[in-house]
Amino acid sequence: MIVAGCDIGSLTTKVVLFDGKKILASSIIKSKPKPEDGAYEALQQACAIATVNQDTITYCVGTGYGRKRVPFANDTISEISCHTKGAFYLYPNVRTIIDIGGQDCKVISLNTQGEVDRFVTNDKCAAGTGRFLEVMAKVLKVELQELSNMAKKGNEAITLASACTVWAQADVIKYLNEGISKENIALGVCKSMAKRVGVLVNQASIKKDVCITGGVAKNTAVVKELENLLGVTIIKITNVDPQLTGALGAALFAYQKAGGK
């Protein structure tokens, strides 16, 4: 039996194909203005990698902000539940999940059964989300993926005066005009991001083990700063792309709903 999880986020759309034992294939693409198109494209890519026909997919669960727009979904489940499901499957000892997506940041506490105990989300603001890093990368004229490596080369982080993405952007431009190196600016950006997320994590009362999911989990500079700030080791998801955790959780739900155990 093959099932699918499709996670339509604000920046990327992800699909995971699962057969009850392992992930058969996955895909990550940029979200489209028409979410349905993105979902189809991501599914096609994943099916091509797994060399399976879309018709063989028994059940699909949609998740993420665009979950109601997944045309081939049999059911929808929120991203909080799906990230929890996915992270617990990968690391059964995890009790706190920090999920930093493109549009928001969530901290989820879970119990020993892998059920959500509590969650907190950021206030409606781009600071502390993937969008913040994307905006800063654009100002620095680098790819988002390069930001982390650039930050690691920095040795004297700049300070961003404001938590607001728009004002922080203005600060970055000011530092560039002052001739500050991009590396030091990138380091400051990652520290600022970590600080903002740290506030939210502390609100939720952290329980070990802690893991991080979502696209920003791939920015090792932010994760390192967050570890320093919180004084805990954060599990880095290595066996699966951390950005796929929500889609994986959706696929696991799909498997259960289709009658698998």
Binding site: S78, I80, S81, E115, V116, D117, R118, F119, T121, D123, K124, Q203
Partner: protein, 467 residues
């Protein structure tokens, strides 16, 4: 603001709409069904209100309130702009017409899909900050633009309680160069000096109102209003007993009717009739073992520790009904009379008000005390965890109503509560109430769409295993 919106006075439009809505049930069922076809815009809010037996009277009462405003000057009465947390009883006692901004904003946002956006924005054009409270701006914008009944004076009582609220009124008074009076609130509630302060401050208010209205306070009229208020308190006490029952024997809109009615017509017979209707419905449902949510079993019950969400078509109440959630009250629906159930249960008489109608002094003391116990005025004036303040009230009411969870609805625009709500939520969680901070502007869907708000709310209910 669009030119089209300036064609008619906004309060006149509201009055005509509510007036027509209140008469929809006057005909046959068939006529009602046909009428709904012709009012696609207002169909949903009307249907939602009519789910309660008191719905028709509620609409009539709202139409009467608007009629009073629209025709105030024609009838030789002065208009007094004020806030929801100021008891209008004294305004009625001086034969004037209260114009409560938050009520007008809610009336508008209930009805119009576009909401009050253009009026909100007009306030900013006039010089308001964009982060000021939207509950006043939603209707104040229209009055600033002169598309409403002119205001004769401004009275508020929120300084020290809610500064964004107080600033809105002082802004309007300055902008329009109107007489202005503000009652000030000390950060404590129960202390002899505070009681004395409230009474003296209130006497100065009465003098101001007398001067501005050109009328002397009629003692008999004041006594009549206070006696009516006593009657209303007794009815509210009985309703509160019903609201503690599970399943809920009253519609989920009951609390809305209770507080909106009190903000409109405290001490006036029309509000007494509404309460009587609600009490009769409650008694009947209890006798028949029926529940008021008109759906299947009440799955869980919420207490709103601040305000509700008012944007188009009463969607908050629709959602509660769809999910079979009982809703017994919020911080607005509580008025703290000394005969009120939680006051008696907890021996909180010192923090409550009592109504005495003997001498003028008795009456002025009573009405000053009533005002100082208005929602928000009572419990947001001091630190959230001080005696008789927000935390204590929230926990007492949530327990009394047998709530399973607590919800706070607001944005950083609600400065005086937003600044404390995370601490409050930590404490209510510790006390065993799952607590949801619902980030949403109750009067402006542009801040966060209702769909996104509902999504988060439902997620909270699911993950905390409340539904």
């Amino acid at each position: 603001m669009r030119q089209a919106l300036k064609q008619y006075n906004f309060d006149w439009m509201l009055w005509r709409t509510y007036e027509a809505g209140s008469r929809l049930l006057a005909g046959t069922k068939q006529e009602y069904d046909i009428a709904l076809r012709y009012i696609p815009y207002f169909r949903d809010p009307v249907k939602e209100v009519f789910k309660a037996k008191a719905g028709q009277l509620f609409l009539q009462m709202t139409a009467t309130y608007l009629d009073n405003i629209v025709h105030a000057h024609q009838r030789g009465k002065k208009t007094c702009m004020t806030t929801f947390c100021f008891s209008p009883a004294i305004v009625y006692a001086l034969d004037m017409v209260p114009v409560t901004l938050e009520l007008l904003t809610v009336m508008m946002t209930f009805l119009y899909k576009r909401g009050t956006g253009e009026f909100l924005d007009y306030c900013n054009e006039a010089g308001f900050t964009e982060t000021s409270c939207s509950s006043q701006r939603g209707s104040m914008g229209a009055l600033l633009a002169d598309i409403g009944t002119p205001i004769d004076m401004v009275v508020t009582d929120s300084p020290g309680v809610c500064d964004t609220n107080a600033n809105a009124f002082s802004f309007f008074a300055a902008y329009k160069d109107l007489p202005f009076f503000q009652l000030n609130m000390p950060p404590w509630l129960v202390e002899e000096r505070v009681t004395e302060y409230h009474v003296q401050d209130y006497k100065a208010l009465v003098a101001f109102l007398e001067e501005q209205s050109g009328k002397k306070l009629d003692i008999d009229r004041l006594r009549q209003i206070l006696t009516e208020l006593q009657k209303q308190d007794e009815l509210i006490n009985e309703l509160e007993q019903f609201l503690c029952y599970r399943p809920l024997p009253l519609p989920v809109t009951t609390c809305l009717f209770i507080y909106a009615g009190r903000f409109m017509f405290a001490g006036m017979p029309i509000y007494t009739r509404l309460l009587e209707l609600l009490v009769n419905e409650g008694r009947e449902n209890v006798r028949l073992h029926q529940q008021g949510i008109y759906t299947s079993h009440e799955k869980s019950r919420g207490f709103f520790c601040y305000i509700d969400h008012y944007t188009h078509s009463l969607r908050l109440w629709q959602m509660l009904q769809e999910l079979n959630i009982g809703y017994s009250g919020n911080i607005l629906s509580h008025f703290w009379a000394d005969s009120n159930p939680p006051v008696i249960q907890n021996n909180w008489e010192e923090a409550a008000y009592s109504i005495k109608t003997g001498t003028l002094e008795d009456m002025l003391t009573s009405i000053a005390q009533i005002n100082s116990r208005m929602p928000m005025i009572k419990s947001i004036r001091g630190p959230y965890d001080s005696p008789y303040m927000w935390l204590q009230d929230t926990l007492a009411l949530a327990s009394m109503y047998r709530a399973d969870f607590i919800v706070y609805n607001g944005t950083p625009g609600c400065r005086n509560t937003w600044g404390m709500v995370k601490l409050l939520a930590q404490d209510t969680e510790k006390a065993g109430f799952p607590t949801h901070i619902m980030y949403a502007d109750a009067f402006d869907d542009r801040v966060q769409s209702w769909d996104a708000t509902r999504d988060r709310f439902e997620e909270f209910l699911r993950v905390r295993r409340l539904i």
